[in-house]
């Protein structure tokens, strides 16, 4: 996984200019109180791009890398990051209606998952006018492997980037 190092200012710049279409993860069973809404102040001191690229969505739940093999992760080695952001935009000029869901699991020190299947962190539907940035915050961090799946009734090309950040919580 070659992570491009971008500075904090750069990340914030990219996130801030995403004007519209922030989707909050519904059905997120937030166990701990440190979910985004309650957090007064979070200062990221290290940020890395975990994955970036183009995904051809169709009606099947596809990983951002395009495969439909349920056991394969989209990004590995995400243990150090306590928050993830998935941001991007959908090409084409039809209104966007893309479902996405975030799956996560832990692996042992040899890279083998503790058990089969995934934990579904949350699900969201990106409904924006064409050519708009969207951004999804994934508050549950420190999982080792994440699988982000996208699906859309009408086939679309989605260009997106997954960013992991390490930050200091000031309560």
């Amino acid at each position: 996984m070659s992570a491009e190092r971008i500075t904090r200012r750069e990340m914030l710049k990219r996130l801030v200019i995403a004007p519209v279409g922030a989707a909050v993860l519904t059905t997120l069973e937030v166990r701990e109180a440190s979910a985004a809404a309650l957090q007064r102040y979070y200062a990221p001191y290290f940020v890395a791009v975990l994955w970036e690229g183009r995904t051809r969505c169709d009606s099947l739940w596809r990983s951002l890398k395009g495969d439909v093999v349920a056991i394969l992760p989209t990004v590995q080695g995400a243990t150090p990051y306590d928050r993830l952001y998935w941001t991007g935009y959908a090409l084409g000029n039809a209104p966007v209606n893309v479902d996405m869901r975030v799956l996560a699991r832990a692996v042992d020190h040899n890279g083998v998952p503790l058990g089969s299947g995934w934990r579904e962190i949350g699900q969201a539907t990106i409904q924006t006018p064409p050519m708009r940035w969207f951004r999804v915050e994934i508050p549950e961090g420190h999982w080792d492997e994440y699988r982000l799946e996208v699906r859309s009734a009408t086939p679309r090309l989605v260009y997106s980037r997954l960013i992991g950040s390490q930050g200091y919580w000031r309560e």
């Binding site: 439909v68 093999v69 394969l72 042992d108 020190h109 040899n110 083998v112 998952p113």
Partner: protein, 722 residues
């Protein structure tokens, strides 16, 4: 870096020992998950889901040096475990990788027609039939059922086997279960060996076949068979068509190795007895046969505790002190010569504390100089000590401190809050009459925030790990040599360790930490806690052997999670004595009226179906059966300690001291033909373990070598997480 492909159908039950062993050998791996055990399963690989019989999958497998099937059945009546692998039996081109099958499920109970039709017709091993066991299999190891199942054998309850490896012409004691079957999956299951179809084997053996794993250039090769007995007493023989391991073209049919279960590799390397995998040999042998050259070879080494130890009264043997010392002298002579021959170093933990803190004859110093011990025994004890000092200097038998008197008599470091009446050495830095602190200061403050003028002039700066503190107001020792010593602080640790080293120097050893290895094994594997590790580092140690709960029986501390504390190693302990400590010493492989857990068979639960205790005195084969099971359990646990735990395998010499024949103490086991003083079979524990492991090391020359504890610590630094 070689790379293998592991195939399983259930991630939850995939045993993490597979990946831990491959990591320690430096073999890269890809884990592929089949969607089911049936013929139509899809193999989910990083390249996507590939059908089991597809050419894509065959080409994908060609990327690897070997393909390993990790799932196995519990009984022969299951219908679908690895049925998807039937197509791969006919992928025999030279570019195809070797396939390693361990305890493969190919019984006639499989009903899927695609499996039976694709099963190669010229396959030379008879397919096991759960309803005709006698006709298709040979019952192994006496045929009695294990109480649970032999496939889940952990640190105990082994099944014995002596296997002859034909090409290498080596006899080795390794636990061997080709298939297993019982009415229920996990109760009263019997181990079996396979039956060969001689005609089909002879056609295969005469068919030319070119593949890098075909050593003899033929399509079929018998790899291993049950070894013929070496003594007519041993009536457990198998017919000529009984086979244990076979190569069919590039397919290896091998016995059971690692159970499929929820076992994870705990970083503490704290292992419940259940999740040991003593049949690990077959994975290592399979990798070597498949030509997967590991990047690292694993060092094999052994340790002993208490090189000089004795018991006052020792029924039923009733050895005098002198006879016990002579028996020990013979063992030390043999071990020194063995270490010289193979280049290993056998670490000894000298039982210190006898000079200052006890007069019990079972301590090293008392055995040499104690007036309670007769002079002739003392002379032999001093002879042993000279042998140990010479071995320490030449590197064959390095000795280190091992103190059972630092807490109370049971164990090692930090065994309670206070050790009453601790008597220290004199001289050196912390000995009498030096007035040194013996407890943590009343106030300790970090130096960078300490206000000026608060700390009195006699304040000390103490560093333990990262924490540096200025301490003042200590309880002091005074100038006397006996006082109550609070155990949980670095000052007490320094006093205790220095007194142990002082005794080692007085015994004639140049140091107390096994010469260049800078290591020792701690009493009762109690390595104390951070303050003892820091003190040991200060005295020049690089590591010690330690249990996971490292101040037993006080039980307030545990080792750090990856057993590496600021560069200080905490090596996992793995003991293998033929008696429980509560029984004092071992009465032999088996002894009809020994106390509970007082002999090897009782302590390691090896009396399967009472086929040893019921006829110990009536039929001689029971002695051979006991010998095979004890040695297979020992070698199995030792291999697990070497390959998975990277730990310290050790025995107590004194525990198995008296079950030898006095006329020929270092003789090899020979059933009732060589007897000990009470007329039961002679058995020398050190000789049998070392010689049998030497056979395994010679057999697995690509994977193992006789190394030292320094090699183990170096390897831990290489492969364990930092």
């Amino acid at each position: 870096m070689p790379k293998v492909c592991l195939i399983t159908s259930n991630l939850t039950r995939f045993n993490k020992v597979w990946t831990q062993v491959l990591r320690h050998l430096g073999i890269d791996y890809t884990l592929c998950v089949a969607t089911s055990g049936g013929v139509g399963a899809t193999i989910q690989t990083p390249q996507g889901g590939l059908a089991a019989n597809s050419t894509d999958l065959r080409n994908y497998f060609r990327l690897f040096d070997a393909v390993i099937l990790c799932d196995h059945a519990l009984t022969l009546s299951e219908t679908a475990v690895i049925n998807y692998s039937v197509y791969w039996l006919s992928w025999n081109a030279p570019e195809d990788p070797p396939f390693l099958f361990f305890n493969p499920h190919f019984s006639t109970a499989i009903t899927e027609s695609a499996y039976n039709s694709n099963f190669p017709s010229d396959f030379p091993i008879v397919r096991p039939n759960p309803s005709d066991l006698a006709g298709t299999l040979y019952a192994a190891d006496g045929g009695s059922p294990s109480a649970f199942t032999p496939l889940f054998t952990g640190a105990a309850a082994a099944r014995g086997a002596c296997v002859l490896f034909l090409a290498e012409n080596i006899r080795a004691h390794v636990m061997t279960v080709c298939n297993a079957h019982g009415a229920s999956r996990t109760a009263n299951v019997v181990p079996y060996y396979w039956r060969l179809n001689p005609t089909q084997h002879s056609t295969l053996a005469n068919t030319n076949y070119t593949h890098r794993v075909a050593r003899n250039g033929r399509a079929g090769e018998i790899l291993a068979v049950p070894a013929p007995p070496t003594n007519p007493e041993d009536t457990e023989t198998y017919p000529s068509d009984c086979v244990v391991a076979y190569r069919y073209r590039n397919i290896f049919w091998l016995p059971h190795t690692i159970r499929s279960f929820f076992d994870t590799m705990n970083l503490h390397s704290w292992y419940t007895l259940g999740n040991w995998t003593p049949m690990l040999f077959w994975l290592l042998y399979g990798l070597q046969l498949a030509g997967v050259r590991p990047r690292y070879r694993l060092p094999v080494q052994m340790e002993t505790d208490h090189p000089i130890e004795s018991g006052a009264n020792t029924p039923p043997f009733n050895f005098s002190y002198r006879q016990q010392m002579e028996a020990l002298l013979a063992k030390h002579d043999y071990m020194r010569e063995f270490a010289r021959r193979t280049g290993t170093a056998i670490i000894h933990g000298v039982r210190v504390g006898g000079r200052h803190r006890t007069t019990s004859a079972s301590f090293h110093w008392q055995m040499m100089y104690g007036t309670g011990v007769p002079a002739d025994a003392r002379a032999v004890a001093q002879q042993i000590n000279q042998l140990l000092v010479a071995g320490h200097r030449e590197g064959t038998t390095p000795c280190g401190v091992h103190d059972h008197t630092a807490g109370n008599f049971q164990g090692g470091y930090w065994l309670g809050d206070v050790r009453a009446g601790f008597r220290r050495h004199s001289g050196m830095r912390y000995g009498a009459p030096a007035n040194v602190p013996i407890s943590r200061g009343r106030c300790c403050v970090a130096p960078h925030v300490l206000p000026a003028g608060v700390a009195p002039p006699n304040a000390l700066t103490v560093q333990v790990g990262d924490a540096e503190m200025v301490e003042w107001d200590h309880t002091m020792s005074g100038t006397g040599d006996t006082f109550d010593l609070p155990l949980g602080n670095i000052h007490a640790a320094r006093i205790v360790i220095e007194s142990e080293i002082e005794e080692m120097l007085a015994l004639g050893f140049p140091d107390g930490h096994c010469a260049g290895h800078k290591y020792t094994n701690t009493a009762a594997n109690a390595s104390g806690g951070e303050c003892y590790w820091q003190a040991l580092k200060e005295f020049g140690f690089r590591g010690v052997r330690s249990a996971s709960a490292c101040n037993e029986p006080h039980r307030t501390k545990r080792v750090v999670s990856n057993r590496l504390w600021h560069g200080f190693h905490l090596i996992t302990d793995a003991g293998f004595d033929l008696a429980h400590p509560s029984a004092g010493y071992s009465r032999g492989l088996y002894y009809p009226d020994s106390p509970s857990e007082g002999d090897g068979v009782r302590h390691w639960q090896l009396d399967h179906g009472n086929d040893i205790s019921a006829n110990w005195t009536t039929s001689a084969v029971a002695a051979w059966r006991a010998y095979r099971r004890v040695v297979c359990q020992g070698i199995g646990n030792w291999l697990f300690t070497t390959a998975v735990v990277l730990g310290g395998f050790y025995i107590h010499l004194g525990t198995q001291l008296m079950i030898i024949s006095l006329s020929d103490p270092n003789a090899r086991f020979n059933g009732w033909s060589v007897q000990n003083v009470i007329g039961h079979p002679h058995y020398n524990h050190a000789v049998e373990l070392l010689e049998n492991m030497d056979a395994v090391v010679r057999l697995l020359s690509d994977v193992l070598y006789w190394g030292t504890i320094t090699d183990v610590m170096d390897h831990r630094e290489r492969v364990l997480e930092g």
